[in-house]
Every structure is written in C-alpha cells, then in structure tokens.
C-alpha cells in the first residue's frame, strides 16, 4: 500500500469514517502487522500535536483579546436581585397606600356616600398597580363627569374631578396624613410582614440518560455496534432531578434549574408535568432537559438563574422530543 493511501486510511479510521467492514479488516490487519500499528501510533501522536497547536493558538488569542465586561452584563443575578428589591419596594408602597385609603379620615370625610370613592379619585394612577382593577370604575367616573344632576352621589366627584391636578393633591395629602397620624399605630419596620416564596411540594423525576455509559464502563461497550443500545441501557446513568413546586407572593411564573434541582413557579397540581431530554452531543455528554407542561415543551436553562417559561417552537426539535 502506498504511503499516501495508508495515511488516508488512518485519517478515516481516526475520524470514525470507516464502514463496519472496512473497520473489521483494518483492526485485523493491525493485529497481524506490528509495523502498521506503530505507524498508526505515530500518526495519532502527530494529529494530537496538530490539534494541540491549534488549541494553543486559539487560547492565546482569547487570553490577549478577551475583555470581560462582567459588571455590565444586565443578565447577572445581581441585577435580578436589584429588580426584585425594586419590586418589593413598590409592593410595600402599594400596601401602605392601600391601607392608608381605607383608614384615611380625609377620604372618608370627603366622600360620605361611598367608601370606594377614595379609590376612584386615584383611578387613573392605580392602573399601573396589579390588583386594582379600575376597568369598572373608570367608565363610571367618565359618566359622572358629564351629566351633573343625574346621579345623586355626584357631588363629591365634582370637587375633585373638575380640577385634574387635585387628584394628585388628594393622594399626597393622604400619604402625609397617614405618616403623621398613623405613625404610632404602624408596625415598626422589622415587624412589617414581608411575604416570601413558599415551597408547596417536592417530587423526584428520574431521567434515564441511556446515551451516557455508567462510570467504569469501557468504551468498548459502545464500540461493538451490534449491541450498542442494549449494553448502553444496561449500563446507563440515571439523573435524579428534584422538582419543587413553589409559589411566590407576586405570582411569578418561571423556573430555576441547576441540572439537579428544578424549582417551578406558577405551576399547579392540575398541570401535567414531565421531563424529557434531547442529546446535543453524545461524545461531550451534552444534553438539554425539557419540561413538558400540558402538552407544551419548554427548554430549561440550567444556570441556576430565574427564567420565564418559553415554549419551544422549532418543529424539528418538537418532532425529536415526541
């Protein structure tokens, strides 16, 4: 055999490009011909050296050029904490303002007919707030602004709705008055009840990672192509994933996953849950876990950060998952 042919054969062998027949022949020849086997060792050694040379080149490039703007990355968890803190502050403010309206003596005095009018005056502002559905109240307000004498209880509105800026004044007044009058009756800062996330239920789901050989299994288990799948499944690796159902006070819907533990937010017991995975690269043992929720698949990012559920839409991937 000519040397160039021999090298081409080595290359195809190393890349795994030989057919089963060719591979059997080649392995047989290696056994019988020690010189060929030695040549193959040399070939492998050079190939590894070439690969290492390229790696070093790429590594050096990164070492010289990479600039990490770690703090500037908006998707770090610090940022998540910061936004959570801001949300919490708004949440507390909302509760305080809401309580204030109920007990505020000014609001009660101004609107003797209806206690809810205190809310109505700030109807426009409260649209930003989650619970306050001003949808029903806004049309009422609009109606009451135009025909003055029709509804008997319009008088209190006349005072406030005539001058738009009054609305803000009313709110301001209520807050300051609350601060002055109700300070004594308010709980101290450390007594303020802050609701936190609560864990509802734990369960364990086992992923059967049949494509990964168990530790200690020889690569030979994989090579004998006839028995591949069977031997692989008997020596498989199971990944046990703890699934926790959580509930957050702000009804957050999303998840956090680190490969072993999955925290689900906004998922109820009525939802049908299962886990499956897609092998991305068997050699590197890379796979991605999918959450199946009510028939939809959601890819899970396992970086232990909070992510919203984002359904998989790629038809090819969906086909593979089924």
């Amino acid at each position: 055999m000519e040397e160039q042919e021999k090298y081409a054969l080595f290359d195809r062998y190393l890349r795994g490009d030989l057919s089963q027949q060719e591979l059997d022949d080649f392995l047989e020849r290696l056994k019988e011909d020690p010189e060929l086997a030695a040549d193959l060792e040399m070939h492998k050694f050079l190939v590894e050296g070439i690969q290492e040379h390229r790696k070093e080149e790429l590594r050096t490039y990164m070492k010289e050029k990479a600039r990490v703007r770690f703090m500037g990355n908006p998707w770090t968890r610090n940022w998540t904490y910061a936004s959570a803190a801001v949300l919490l502050i708004f949440g507390v403010m909302y509760v305080v303002i809401d309580q204030n309206r109920k007990v505020d003596p000014v609001a009660v005095k101004d609107t003797p007919a209806e206690t809810s009018t205190g809310v109505d005056t700030t109807g426009e502002k409260s649209q930003d707030l989650p619970e306050e559905s001003s949808a029903e109240e806004t049309p009422q307000l609009a109606e009451q602004q135009d025909p003055v004498p029709v509804v008997p209880e319009t008088e209190p509105y006349e005072d406030t709705s005539g001058v738009v800026s009054d609305e803000h004044d009313v709110e301001h007044r209520t807050i300051t008055e609350l601060n002055q009058e109700n300070l004594a009756s308010m709980p101290k800062e450390d007594e303020l009840p802050v609701k936190s996330d609560t864990r509802i239920y734990d369960t364990l789901i086992t992923l059967n990672l049949a494509f990964i050989p168990a530790q200690g299994a020889k690569s030979g288990d994989f090579k004998d192509s006839s028995g591949v799948t069977k031997q692989a499944t008997t020596s498989n690796k199971d990944e046990k994933i703890t699934v926790q159902y959580w509930k957050s006070p702000i009804n957050y819907k999303g998840y956090r996953f680190d490969g072993r533990k999955l925290e689900l937010f906004g998922v109820g017991f009525s939802d049908e849950i299962s886990l499956s995975y897609l092998v991305l690269d068997p050699k590197l043992k890379v796979y991605r876990v999918y959450l199946k929720k009510n028939g939809q698949y959601f890819p899970l990012v396992d970086d232990h950060a909070y992510h919203p559920y984002k359904a998989e839409t790629d038809p090819d991937i969906l086909e593979k998952l089924k």
Partner: protein, 189 residues
C-alpha cells in the same frame, strides 16, 4: 467585521466557519457570567473560570467548524453544558490522586499523560516551523475537521484533490521533523 449588535448565534456560527476569531471573543465574553457563577459556587476560583471557559469556547468552536454541524440549541446553552462537564471532570480528577484514565478511542496508549503532554509539545514546536499554508491546512483538516472540498475553497486550491495532495506533503514534512528530533535525542541520550 461585524458591529457589536449584529452578533447572534447565526452570525457566530457563520463567522466561526469563516475562521473569524472574533467569534471566540463573543462566545467568551457573552458566557463569562454564568460560567463564573457556576464555577465559583462549586469550589473553583477565577483562574479556573478562565481555563474552563477557554476550553469550552474552543470545544464549541471545534464543534461548530465541522462541515456537518447543525445548530440544534442555543450556543450559550451548549457552551454552558460543555463548561459544566469540563469543570466536573476537573473536580473529580483533582479529587482522585490517581487520575482515572478516560477511555478514549483517540488516545495514545503507550505513555503516561504527563510524558505524553510533554512529547506533544515537541509536535507543537515543529508545527510552528511549517509554512502558513501548511499550518492552516493541517488545522482545518485535523482540528476543524472540515472536508477537503471546503478546505480547497477556503485556501484557494484548485480542487479537493489538490488540497488532499498538499495535506499529505505538509503532514509528511511534520512527520520528518518530529522523527528527526526523536532520533537525534535518542542518539544523544
């Protein structure tokens, strides 16, 4: 050259295929935070973060360069998983004093890993002595594992056969240099 905003998975893949090393930087910088978080949380330090991230980026580069590569997941997902595996492997290796050998098809069997690594540096050293075209050709074939047609296209050879012949010459040259080195050192030793 691409502006910062135009980088996304598709363009990164495209640029890697063209051999644009800037893509490395985007993979590195874009995935630094999650990899760092993970490694620091799992008893690693900042040096580990750099080493592991570099290796992971290189692994992704190699994978994407393959002629047959198809993007089936977000690159960040892929890279993070690779980094995690590399780190877990590094951890278990350092835990066991006697490193458990990996049963890899491509491994040279004869020597211990340390000796092997040292010898490998000899090949690396002689690679540097080859011409630029030879280096690129050998890289593209043995590291990026592209097919001859694509390599011929990238390096402006007439066709795949020309590239094949040239690759053989380059490989042969490297082999001669390395063999000469060993026979010389054998003689001295």
């Amino acid at each position: 050259m691409l502006g910062r905003r135009e980088w996304n998975d598709a363009t990164i893949v495209e640029e890697i295929r063209k051999g644009n090393k800037e893509a490395l930087l985007h993979l590195y910088e874009g995935n630094y935070a999650p990899v760092r978080n993970y490694i620091l949380k799992n008893s690693g330090d900042n040096d580990d973060v750099e080493d592991i991230l570099q290796e992971a980026v290189i692994a992704v580069w190699q994978k994407v360069s393959h002629t047959e590569f198809e993007l089936t997941a977000k690159l960040s997902t892929f890279l993070f998983a690779v980094a995690k595996n590399l780190w877990l492997k590094a951890l278990s290796k350092s835990k066991r004093t006697e490193a458990m050998e990996e049963h890899h098809e491509n491994r040279a069997v004869s020597s211990s890993p340390a000796v092997h690594q040292r010898d490998l540096q000899i090949v690396v050293q002689y690679m540097d002595k080859l011409g630029e075209t030879c280096k690129r050709l050998l890289h593209l074939f043995y590291f990026e594992e592209q097919d001859m047609k694509e390599i011929a296209n990238r390096l402006n050879f007439a066709n795949a056969d020309t590239a094949k012949a040239k690759k053989y010459q380059c490989f042969k040259k490297l082999e001669q240099l390395v063999k000469a080195h060993f026979s010389k050192s054998d003689f001295i030793g």
